[in-house]
Symmetry: C2
Subunit: 274 residues, 2 copies
């Protein structure tokens, strides 16, 4: 039997956004293999109910386990906010999401205690960012704002478009008025809008990308559990594997713009069978 | 056994948009009962692949048949464009979509033979509107334009917002320049943007809403097949039934703004089990 240290890490998202998290894992722990799943048949998750997100996430984790992953990263803020707490006790391998790492860094780095969170409707309504930020900084004030048009704008490719600036201004103005010094980009698509967010929020507001902290926490978690790959590398070209529930070709095109790894081997999975 | 004439009509869509078609059926054939299904767990369909849309539509039709419907209306342009042709031969009851009725009226009413079609990415890429328009008007020139931000803007409720006007101007300018005299609103969400579309296209361009023609064709189809309800009415409050795959509460709120019927009885269905 293969040593579990050499097993891959399962990473999933509702679609392509989680690739920004996969990219960060590849950068910080380059010796670890990734099995990525993007639920492109049922994307987006951001406006859907907790019950449905739990059902979808459970199917995906079941699929990832068939690939013998040693740990799971929920690289989707909505699934982290709505499903992680329910699914964690069902698993005997480590699982982490992106909300807690992002919330912790915001709680610990704010100077004036005023933190903004932008995310999908379902993530904001879950209040999980607020809860975790308060656990680490009880006096913090948290201002959440759902930004449902950001993902469609990113997917349309209008990353620096005047329309995007106008939409972002509309969404962010109420946050600007609160005087926040920290803004959590609580959806994996949002870091792609960083230049627009920076332009509107100004130079003094710290923009937090949970992907960075998630990869750092993952590294610690693997080490603590004796699961870190100690250096064995698989043959070239078999390092990472990619699966989607719809339109593998389209995924490949987008993925190749985000991560420095050939994703030619992306395979289609009927995820509702898991 | 109940007479099949008194059976309901199955109507489905990826979400709430198909309610604009249901509304038109209620208006034109008020004696017919409707069983509506909105696939709110997997919405939107507009950027997904043919294979996936066929699989989803097949599950939904299977579900509708458990409700003993006498006919099926595909009240979603994307599913009509991608799945109808494949699914029709599998069924022994009549099924119609919204694309053919909309294409026919555009083909038959254009004066200068120049027709624009706005729709989702997948509908435009299917070229079905172009094909059906040409069948009825071989000299017609058809100009298609995908408008992926329209549905998110409608769902955000920005129906007459300056941002929506700017986005619509961007999408419609290339169509304006072609000199079209007819524009098909090829997605069930788009009639909700009619005032903005009218403002940009001007008074002389005819805006075609396929919902109207679909209800008219459905009426004919029922009569031709001896399936029309000849007047028997069910008890008050049991006329129509509504099912969704996610978030029944949210659906109810939106539905009540579109159709003149109490949808308090909306039920949740795990559609992937069908």
């Amino acid at each position: 039997m293969e040593d579990i240290k050499y097993a891959p890490i399962g990473v999933f998202d509702s679609g392509v956004g989680g690739l920004t998290v996969a990219r960060e894992i590849m950068r910080q722990i380059p010796e670890e293999r990734i099995v990525y799943f993007g639920d492109t048949a049922r994307v987006p998750y951001g406006s859907k109910s907790k019950e449905t997100i739990i059902r979808f996430s459970r199917q995906i984790i079941h699929f990832l386990r068939t690939k013998e992953v040693k740990a799971v990263v929920v690289a989707c803020n909505t699934a982290s906010a709505l499903a992680l707490e329910t699914l964690q006790p069902e698993l005997d391998i480590p699982i982490i999401g992106v909300v807690t790492p992002g919330a912790k860094v915001a709680a610990n780095t704010t100077k004036n205690g005023k933190i903004g969170v932008i995310a999908t409707e379902s993530t904001i309504e879950s209040h999980l960012y607020t809860k975790v930020i308060r656990q680490h900084n009880p006096r913090a004030q948290v201002f959440g704002k759902a930004c449902p048009l950001f993902c469609p704008l990113v997917e349309e490719g209008w990353l620096k478009d005047p329309v995007t600036v106008e939409v972002a201004t509309r969404y962010l103005n109420p946050l600007l008025e609160t005087g926040i010094d920290t803004l959590v980009m609580g959806c994996t698509h949002y870091p792609l809008l960083r230049p627009v967010l920076r332009q509107i929020m100004g130079e003094k507001v710290n923009l937090v990308n949970p992907a960075y902290e998630t990869a750092r926490e993952l590294k610690e978690l693997l080490e603590q559990n004796g699961l870190a790959n100690d250096g064995q590398r698989p043959p070239e070209g078999t390092m990472h594997r990619f699966y989607v529930s719809d339109a593998a070709n389209k995924f490949r095109q987008f993925a190749n713009t985000i991560i420095p790894y050939g994703v030619d081997t992306t395979q289609l999975v009927h995820i509702e069978d898991y």
